[in-house]
Symmetry: C2
Subunit: 433 residues, 2 copies
């Protein structure tokens, strides 16, 4: 067998010098990383995909795990299984500690991995704007464990509200605050309101989940700020129909386990969910690259890192200009396009083919869903809302899922949930650490 | 609203004295507890079901969660949802700390709960025969968290084996020991062997999961010791076809995170699963009742606790004689029969109907499954094996599940898994504490 790691020896000579087969290391198996690996399937290289998890996650639906609609396994697939047919790909489950860019070595918890080309596809976390201590009180939604943790907090709040006799305590337990009015925040707030007002409505004897308070706090002047204005207004009305209280141009100034401050106003809430701000992974620091305030690497036109033509950054790890001063948005289709572009660019270089065209992002549209049977779809010319939008949204999401069985399972969950207003995954598991 | 708990006052007078509505408290929402609550649906009593989880668990399939076949939500339902139509039932998610039997009060983490009748349906854990320190190295399989924890260890072992270059370490990582040859141990060993030899076979590049070693260690002279001997032999052959090494009359004398000792023999193994021995919950201690070595309460013919006619113990919490010196087995149908019996007995007493017949257990049969498309079924006269047994086993298990959607979801998982040899829930989540 080949030894992937080189724990006790000097870095090997670069492949160019020895004529050996080139190795492409991809860090992160999100949408971008998987697409990059796939684009190298027919190329004469070894691909090593490193991820700290064993699974690729369909992140756009993670909020449905957090709100008890789907199981984690419905939206996650083993990376090995996705790439099982690609003989030149090896998967390593390990955490990256750093990169020695001069010696071309990735340092991981499972040893050192030399590379000829490196693709950084490490994704993003939520930004707490300098208040990382808020993360404990107001978890974000990036990993499976985040989603099952939020699910535990949401469902436990209703359980505790049923048992308490203290009026103020019950009011705080029945108050749910979502910070951030982008797609994740809007979808989350809608899903929580539906959970309370429909799914749980009949199940309690002493408290009334239907009267739960759901607040959505947004610093900007409207929800879904990156969407066209008419759709933003539709989303707002849909949320208001679910009795979600929307606070615009409101900034969270403090946040702990008992509630949030918005300027002078205190809102007592046992459950706070953070869906605001973006902070890239520490990848820029690993290679000492220039980055923006959110940690995204300033890449060249071909998505390579200036001065390091063998290192590429894609997806949420990269700051890529689009339409003048805007950035390519941090959504799955963008990451996939970058992954495919970089994979092909490396394949061209290895095969000594000339390729000069810069990366060009094609924006296909924006999607968001607000509760049962309603969604917002903004394609280039076409704007869909309400039930028609929801059907489009459902078909699109099921279509883009990886595994055949999961597509089918998710479709059944949604159909069942739509017909019965019930949810398939109302489990409280684990415990807060 | 009614206050369920009485945090700051003296216990209320017994209902007999005041003429108030009687309250039946059920501790534990397993098969027995749910059935007892249901049997009281039409009765003029208040039913309070207390469980530390928010869900009822279909425990016979928990090993399939541990081996990545099913998701936790496929085999768990919110207790509230199960009893949503029963207006006289209230659910409390709380941990029981003890019982004050003289004052008729259950002490819980959510306050004190007075009762007129008490049903103890608290289930069992695995017994480590005085070596509770082995639990860390060799987890048992009783709760959802146990199953996802074992799944994490199983799948991580294959991941680590792929990355190590140390021959001995890889051998230990690829060795899986199951302790206990009852139905859970047999099903677990079969499922692990299948996971390695079929599901994962194509997914690794440097290690060969198909060559994993799976050992089943049983202290008695045969596997499935409580089944008829011919079926026990069938199970043994089925396991051997999957290359499971069976060690009979073998006793584990030591157990840690690196392996087990069987007498003088040391087996290096990174993954050990405990499926031996039964220890009842601490319920006997709460009420100072007489119990057997495994902690099961010695109950009267009507399943009440001697000297406490208002307290009943059912399921794995009770030691109930059957066929001379045997005990009623610790299986779901037995717990359900006891739950229904006790529920009806209390309903009779409250309605002042005379009921003298003792509890009589009706044994319907034994079931176990060994890998894909093979099962052992022992009904009274009928013994089924192989594919016919597997179909019977599948239909029986799907039939006895609670929720319509879950039946459907599980049937689809099994069909998909049977056809493709794949598994739907290969997720490594959380971390060992």
């Amino acid at each position: 067998m080949t030894d992937l790691t080189t724990p006790d020896r000097d870095p090997p000579p670069a492949a160019e010098e020895t004529g050996a087969r080139r190795r492409v290391v991809v860090v992160g198996a999100g949408f971008g990383g998987i697409e990059a690996a796939r684009a190298l399937a027919a190329s004469d290289v070894d691909v090593v995909v490193i991820d700290r998890n064993n699974h690729h996650l369909f992140q756009p639906l993670l909020y449905q795990v957090a709100t008890a609609e789907l199981s984690p396994a419905d939206i996650a697939w083993p990376i090995r299984w996705i790439l099982r047919g690609q003989d030149n790909a090896t998967i390593m489950m390990a955490e990256v500690r750093g990169v020695d860019a001069d010696s071309r070595i990735v340092r991981t918890t499972a040893g050192d991995v030399p590379y000829d080309y490196l693709i950084l596809a490490t994704g993003a976390a939520h930004a707490y704007f300098g208040h990382d201590e808020w993360a404990q009180a107001a978890p974000g939604l990036k990993r499976v464990e985040d989603a099952t943790g939020i699910r535990r907090r949401l469902l436990s709040a209703f359980e505790l509200a049923e048992m308490t006799t203290d009026h103020d305590r019950r009011a705080a337990l029945m108050t749910f605050v979502v910070v951030g009015g982008g797609p994740t925040g809007v979808e989350m707030a809608g899903a929580i309101a539906e959970l309370a007002r429909r799914t749980l409505a009949r199940d309690f004897r002493h408290s009334d989940p239907a009267r739960a308070r759901v607040l959505l706090i947004e610093a900007g002047p409207r929800v879904l700020g990156t969407f066209p204005e008419d759709l933003s207004a539709v989303a707002r009305r849909a949320l208001e129909r679910l009795d979600v209280e929307i606070r615009l141009e409101a900034e969270v100034t403090m946040c702990d386990r008992t509630g949030v401050d918005i300027g002078d106003e205190r809102i007592e809430a046992a459950t706070i969910i953070w869906a605001a701000g973006v902070a890239a992974s520490p990848a820029a620091g690993w290679i000492g690259a220039e980055h923006d305030r959110a940690g995204r690497i300033h890449v060249a036109e071909d998505l390579s890192v200036p001065g390091r033509p063998e290192i590429f950054a894609i997806g949420d790890t990269a700051a890529v200009r689009w339409q003048g001063d805007r950035l390519v948005p941090g959504i799955a289709p963008a990451a996939k396009q970058m992954g495919e572009f970089v994979g092909r660019r490396i394949a061209d270089r290895v095969a000594c083919r000339n390729a000069e065209a810069p990366f060009a992002y094609r924006h296909r549209g924006d999607l968001a869903t607000i509760g049962r049977g309603a969604a917002i779809v903004a394609l280039r010319r076409l704007h869909l809302t309400g039930f028609v939008g929801w059907v489009f949204w459902s078909v699109a999401h099921v279509y883009f899922m990886v595994g055949i069985k999961n597509r089918f399972a998710v479709a059944i969950e949604w159909l069942w949930s739509y017909v019965t207003s019930q949810r398939g995954a109302r489990l409280i598991t684990g415990s807060d650490s």
